[in-house]
Symmetry: C2
Subunit: 126 residues, 2 copies
C-alpha cells in the first residue's frame, strides 16, 4: 500500500533546496553567518545530522564555508551566487517546460497558461 505519496523527496534534499533558496534570494545575505546547525535543525524540526548533511552539500558547491568553531558563512562571491541563481532558474524553466510538453502541451500553450496564471490578481497570503 502507498503510505507517503507527496513526501516525495528525501528530507535532506528538501533542506538543501530551502537553504539554497534563502541564500540565492538574499534572505540570508552574502557574507553573512547562517544560524547554527542545531538552530536550523530545530527550526525545520529535523535531526541535526540531517541538517548537517544538507549544509555539507551546500559547502561542497561553494555556497557556504565553515569556520570550525565560529559558524558557517555564506560565500562573499556575488558572481557565484548570481550565476547559480540564473542557472537554477534556467533549470526550473527547463524541467517545467519539459514536463508540460510530456503532458502534450505545446510551447505556445504553456506560454498562454502561464500568462493566465501570472496575470491573475492573486492575494499573496504569506
Amino acid at each position: 500500500m502507498l503510505t507517503n505519496l507527496g513526501t516525495d523527496r528525501p528530507v535532506f534534499i528538501q533542506l538543501i533546496d530551502e537553504i539554497q533558496m534563502r541564500i540565492l534570494s538574499g534572505t540570508y545575505p552574502r557574507g553573512g553567518r547562517i544560524p547554527s546547525v542545531r538552530e536550523l535543525a530545530s527550526e525545520f524540526k529535523v535531526n541535526p545530522n540531517t541538517m548537517q548533511k544538507a549544509l555539507n552539500e551546500l559547502e561542497r558547491t561553494g555556497l557556504l564555508n565553515s569556520q570550525r568553531t565560529t559558524g558557517k558563512f555564506i560565500t562573499e562571491n556575488e558572481t557565484l551566487i548570481q550565476e547559480l541563481r540564473r542557472k537554477t532558474a534556467e533549470n526550473e524553466i527547463g524541467f517545467f517546460t519539459e514536463r508540460m510538453m510530456k503532458y502534450g502541451y505545446s510551447r505556445q500553450e504553456i506560454f498562454q497558461l502561464l500568462q493566465e496564471f501570472c496575470t491573475q490578481e492573486k492575494e499573496q497570503t504569506d
Copy 2:
C-alpha cells in the same frame, strides 16, 4: 557522504509520473490496453514489483482498471483524463512559479524568462 544526489525521487513515483504522462498525453490511447506489468518493468529496467506498485496507484486514481487475466486498460472516461490533465498542468504551473518566486523572481520576471525560453528556435535532440 552524499552518494546519490540527483536520483531525487523514488523510482516508483517516477514511474507513476511517466506512465500517467503517456496516458494524459494520449501516447497510450483512451480505452486501450497498456503493456503488461512485466513488459513495462522490462522497458524501464525495474523490478516487476516496483512497476506493479506504480500501476496500482494509477488504478487507485481511476486512470487504469485491471482485468485479472487479460491486462490493464486505460479508462474510457475522457472527462476524467482531460480533467486530470488540466489539473496536473495547473499544479505544475503552481509549483514552478512558487519555486521561482522563492528564488526571488517576480511574476513579471518569470513571465519574461519563460517568454525568452519559449521563443528560442531550439532543435529538439531527442
